[in-house]
Each structure stands twice: as C-alpha cells, then as structure tokens.
C-alpha cells in the first residue's frame, strides 16, 4: 500500500507539523537563523486552520505574546536560536512562575553572542535548564531526526499542558535544516493532552491551588474566572506574598509538580545495551553519528551501546544508572565544551570512567571521530 502521508520534510517544518497536530493555534516569533522556517511555516499554515501568526518586534515580545495567548486559552509556541533564546529568558521565567503552558523551540547554533548563525552546536544544553534566574524545574526535550521532531514537538505540548509549564524543544541546526522522508502521524495516532480546566464556581476557584499531583486547573481569560497572574511570588489565589511559608509552598510546587513525575517525563532510547561494557550517552543530532559508530564497532566485536536522551531535563538519573550498570566506561559526545557530561558524572558510581568527547568548531562529530575516541578509551 502506498503511504500517502510520506513526505520529504525540512526539520524546522516538522516542528510546525508536530505543533499543529498537538493543537497549537498561536505562534509569535521573530526571524533568526537557523530557526526562521518555523515562523515561515506557521505564517503559511495557521490562517488555513483558523489559527494566528504574528511577527513581533523582538524575541522578548514574542514569548510575551505567547504567554498572553496561552492565558487566553490557546496552545501557543515560539521558535528561536541562541541570541533570541537569551533574550527570551526573563519571560520564560515569567511562564514558569505563572505556570503558563507554552512551547519554545530553540534551534541551536554556535555562540556565545552572535557566534555561528549557520553552524551546528549543542551549547545551550545548560541554558535550556538554567536560563531564567531563580529556582524552578525545567522540562527540555531533544529530537535527533526530522521524524523525531514531529513526535517530540507533540510530546512537548503534551508535557506543557499536563504540567502547566513551559517546555523547551532543543533542536540544532543539523536537524532544523535537514530534509528527510518521513510519515506524518495520522489523526488519533498520538495522544493529545489538553490542560485541565477550572470547573468549580468562580468564587471558590484558586488558580494556583496545591493539588494531589501539584498541577492546578486553569481558567482562560474571558470565561468567568477573572484570575490574576503575576510574576511576583504569589499564594494559591495569585495574590503577591512575602510570607516565608507561602513562598516555600510556591517554589516547592514548581519543583515537585515535575520531579514527582520524573519517570513519566523522561524518555530514553536504548540501543545494544544488554551486554554493553562501554556506553555512549548522547542527545540530539549527534546520536545519529553515534548509532553508526556503535554498529561499526559491534561488527568488529566491541561490546558497546547507546543511550539517547529524548528528555534532557529533568535528567533521568535512575534510568541512566539502570541501563549503564554493567558499563565500566561511558563516552559522552557533545557539540560543546562538555555540558551534559557533568550530569552523567553526578549520577554514575565514582568508579565508572567517564570520557567527554567534545567538538565546538561548528562542525558535526563524524562516526570516525567517535570510533577513534572509542579506540582511545578502550
């Protein structure tokens, strides 16, 4: 049977497809290489389905408008890269504290500053977790192919709606600008999660009430609840507070609503790990070169495997320890000066040898380079 859904698609446009599938109907953004095709795709597609696209004056206002649309009840998204991601941080922090669902796509390029607009990098891995000031917990997902980009964007929206929090999709220039033949998901193929809406009478409603799972139902503007959202630390009503007890309750809520459900959020891909003595741990486009290197090493009889992180944050401490328990050596290839490797050092037993393989000259890590590193540590 001919698969009519099969299409040659650009990674950045795969993000648009995934977002629309997940119910995104509002996009606000600002052009920046290498993410611009996400905005262009949204400007073309959203009017056709009654959605809304707006090109804002900068990235600060883009994420601002996204939050405004989300509190009004829409699933909303923006996309950017390095410098734009830096500009967005304050308002992403606003989305964390006001518990506003939204998705931010960061198609990573080299930095710091203007850096390498057209070159690949994974150097925003820590920024995606720690970008806005203050205490909070972030959810960050990372696709490695064009196909992944569709499903991970859907997952990002689902997590965002489920946990009432912004979710970052950490793409990179290679994925964003790659074209691959993929099958688009059919309606019903993936679950689509919508935020839990307020049902109690308005006079009883507390927009930030602590619930059993930590996530408060949400009321959209214009639907009778007239809630407050403020970036100031607030009590369950949304009223600003300076009470130490109430402050702690709020900050604990931001962390616990995610960390208590970490196993539901983390997602890993495991290849040839059953008898592996050496493991590669990677995420994003690098994982594809690693996969080829692992296959080549296996054909030469080396017991090596791959653990790929689809969820980068929260970090999958227990799952990674479980998968790698038989490995005495771990190699962590990254397109940066070594970022996620610190998490692996934190998580693994002290007698595990952990090697960082870094590339930060704007080029990809090739399977040959990965094999060379494997030979070196063996």
């Amino acid at each position: 049977m001919v698969d009519t859904q099969r299409t040659l698609l650009l990674g950045n446009l795969a993000a648009v497809e995934g977002a629309i599938y997940a119910g995104m109907r509002f996009y606000a953004g600002y052009p920046i290489t290498p993410s611009t095709e996400v905005a262009e795709g949204c400007s073309r597609e959203l009017p056709k389905i009654g959605g809304r696209f707006i090109q804002m004056e900068d990235e600060i206002s883009s994420i601002g408008a996204v939050v405004g649309a989300s509190v009004s009840g829409m699933k909303a998204m923006t996309a950017t890269s390095g410098p734009g991601f830096s500009l967005m941080q304050e308002n992403i922090g606003y989305a964390y504290i006001t518990e506003t669902p939204c998705v931010v796509i960061n198609v990573q390029r080299g930095g710091p500053s203007t850096g390498l607009p057209t070159k690949v990098s994974q150097s925003d891995t820590m920024q995606a977790r720690w970008g806005p000031h203050g205490d909070y917990t972030a959810i960050v997902v990372a696709p490695s192919t064009v196909g992944d980009t569709v499903t991970e964007t859907i997952r990002a929206f689902n997590l965002s709606e489920r946990f009432r929090t912004p979710v970052v999709v950490l793409m990179d220039e290679i994925i964003g600008h790659q074209r691959e033949l993929i099958s688009l998901p059919k309606p019903g193929e993936h679950q689509v999660i919508n935020r839990v809406k307020a049902t109690v009478p308005p006079e009883e409603f507390q927009p930030f009430r602590l619930t059993a799972n930590g996530v408060s139902p949400m009321a959209a503007y214009g639907e009778g609840y007239r809630t407050i959202s403020t970036g100031l630390t607030h009590d369950p009503m949304g009223f600003t507070t300076n009470e130490p007890k109430e402050i702690k309750v709020k900050l604990d809520k931001l962390r616990n609503k995610i960390m208590d459900f970490r196993s539901e959020i983390t997602k890993l891909r495991v290849e040839m790990m059953d008898d592996a003595e050496i493991a590669f741990v990677s995420y994003g486009s690098v994982s594809r070169a690693v996969l080829l290197a692992v296959a080549l090493a296996r054909s030469a009889g080396v017991k090596v495997g791959l653990v790929q992180l689809y969820t980068v944050w929260p970090f999958p401490d227990n799952k990674l320890r479980d998968y790698c328990q038989k490995c005495h050596k771990i190699i962590v290839p990254e397109l940066n000066m070594g970022q996620i490797v610190h998490e692996i050092r934190r998580v693994m037993p002290p007698d595990t040898e952990i090697h960082s393989l870094q590339r930060y000259d704007g080029e990809i890590l090739t399977p040959m380079q990965i094999l060379e590193k494997l030979e070196e540590v063996m």
Binding site: F26, G50, S61, A65, M74, I228, S229
Partner: protein
C-alpha cells in the same frame, strides 16, 4: 442645603460604582502613597468601563512593573501583571487570541517609554485594538525616584542629582507618529475630562493612548520642591490648556504649558480585523 444633599448623593453613587469593581478577597490598602494620582486614574477608568457597560469578564487588564502597574491586582478583571516594560507584548497575545476582549494596559513613564519603548511604538504601528493608559509622573516611583524618559530637562531625581541633562519624550507625539489611531492627554486634576478621554479611548477600534499627567509628590515633588499632592494638582490646572483653547493662544502664550484633550484620532484599519480577513480568505486551504 438641597444642593449639598444632591451633591453628596451623586458622590456616593460614584464611589459605589468604584467599589463594585474591587477584586473580592484582595486585601487593601494599595501600595500607593497617600495622595498618589494612581487612585484618581483608577476610579476614572472604572467609571468609564461602567458607563460603557462592559461586563467584567470581557475586560483583561495587563501591566508591567512599577507603582502604576499594581493597579490590575486590585480590580475584578482578568489580570496579567507581567515583566518590566513588556505589558503591551503580553496584551497583544491576549487581544490577538481573543479579539472580542477589551484589553487595557496600565503603564508608567519608565515602564512604557524606557524599557518598553520598542513594544510601545510597534503596538502603535500595528494599530491593535488595545487601550494604553500611561500614567506619567515624570519619575521612577517604585525604585525610589530615579530619572525617567519623561523627567524634564534640568529636573532633579536620585540619578540626576545635578539636574537632568537629557531631553524628555512627548509620548503623545511619539504614539501619533508611530501610528496610534487615538491619542489623548489628561491630568489627575481634570477628572471628568479624564473619564471622558478614557471612555473615548476604550470605545475606539484601534490602538489608543491616554497619557495622564500625574503627581509623584513623594519623589518628584519633594526633590524638585513642588510641594504636596494638592499643590502639584493645582500646578496641572495652571499649566494645562485644552486643545480648543490652545487654538486661540500664541506660541509665546503656550510657553511652559501642555495640551490636554483629544490630540489625534483617525480610522485606519485595526490589526485583528485585517488578520481575520486573511483567515477568511485562506481557511480550509490545503
């Protein structure tokens, strides 16, 4: 005697209207200093909303950071108290997502014209149907009296201790030049006129700005020896000229005065309406 009674009863009705719009369960008093103009603007705004008959549910009030920006927290509308300078960006998201809502931005001179200047000119340019109420007290109040983009040249603030060497903005001229389709100025002395200006602005389809000249006697007044709240309000009375009266005055007579009233009005197309035409034309296309 009868007149006094009548006046009292009218006053009572007016204040009752205002009380109807306070947020239930929110503890008062406000963070504002005694005599602050923000309360006068708040009650004028409420009376305007009441007069236009908007339901509480169709109003969203958005603000940034500063004394002025605390206003939405006290009122019984959907409220988004956002980051410094960015209220218009968040408000754009609300209005574009729900065009039937009445979106009002409450902002100050520092919030709107310094850190938020870019969003201000682009909201004007898009002519999106948002009403911005800019309470201009010529200084940063919440952080303790620093110079703002509207601090007059030569004035004292805690960051211009030897007199402000910078030039100050005229936000109304800026808004008109950037494309806002309704621009008015009022003061906290002229309350009936202010209520009228806000009513007109809310009723206008397109971006509307009402600049309200207000008093920060705590910082601006004290540092520049302008006296208490009452003397600052009296100065607004002395120094303001209505647009009608200004036509009869020479440039020399206008020296040191400022205009109040409707300063600009046009009927250029509104952003959400124009976007809806795009949706209507392309809806359902593959």
């Amino acid at each position: 005697m009868a007149t006094v009674e009548k006046t009292k009863s009218v006053e009572k009705q007016k204040s009752d209207v205002v009380l109807n719009y306070f947020r239930p369960r929110k503890k008062l008093p406000t963070v504002w200093c005694a005599g602050c103009g923000n309360g006068i603007v708040m009650s004028a705004l409420i009376r305007a909303i009441d007069k236009l008959g908007y339901s509480k549910d169709e109003v969203a009030m958005v603000s940034g950071i500063g004394c002025t920006s605390r206003m939405p927290i006290y009122l019984d509308f959907s409220a988004l108290h956002t980051t410094h300078g960015r209220a218009l960006a968040f408000a754009t998201g609300i209005k574009f997502a729900k065009p039937h809502m009445k979106v009002i931005v409450i902002t100050g001179d520092g919030d709107c014209l310094a850190i938020g200047g870019n969003h201000f000119i682009h909201a004007c340019r898009r002519n999106i149907d948002i009403t911005a109420i800019l309470i201009n007290n010529h200084i940063y109040g919440m952080t303790g009296g620093q110079g703002s983009p509207t601090t007059p040249s030569g004035s004292i603030s805690t960051t211009t201790p030897y007199g402000n060497v910078e030039k100050n903005f005229d936000p109304c001229k800026l808004a008109e030049a950037a494309g806002a389709s309704f621009v008015a100025r009022g003061t906290v002395y002229h309350t009936p006129q202010l209520e009228k200006a806000i009513t007109k602005a809310l009723d206008h389809n397109g971006f509307s700005l009402v600049e309200v000249i207000s008093n920060c006697h705590t910082y601006y007044g004290r540092l520049n020896r302008r006296g208490d709240a009452v003397s600052m309000l009296n100065a607004f009375k002395e120094n303001s000229v209505t647009t009608a009266k200004a036509k009869k005055l020479s440039p020399e007579e206008m020296e040191g005065k400022f205009l109040i009233g409707t300063l600009h009005e046009d009927d250029r197309t509104e952003f959400c309406d124009e976007y809806q035409k795009v949706v209507d034309a392309h809806m359902g296309e593959k």
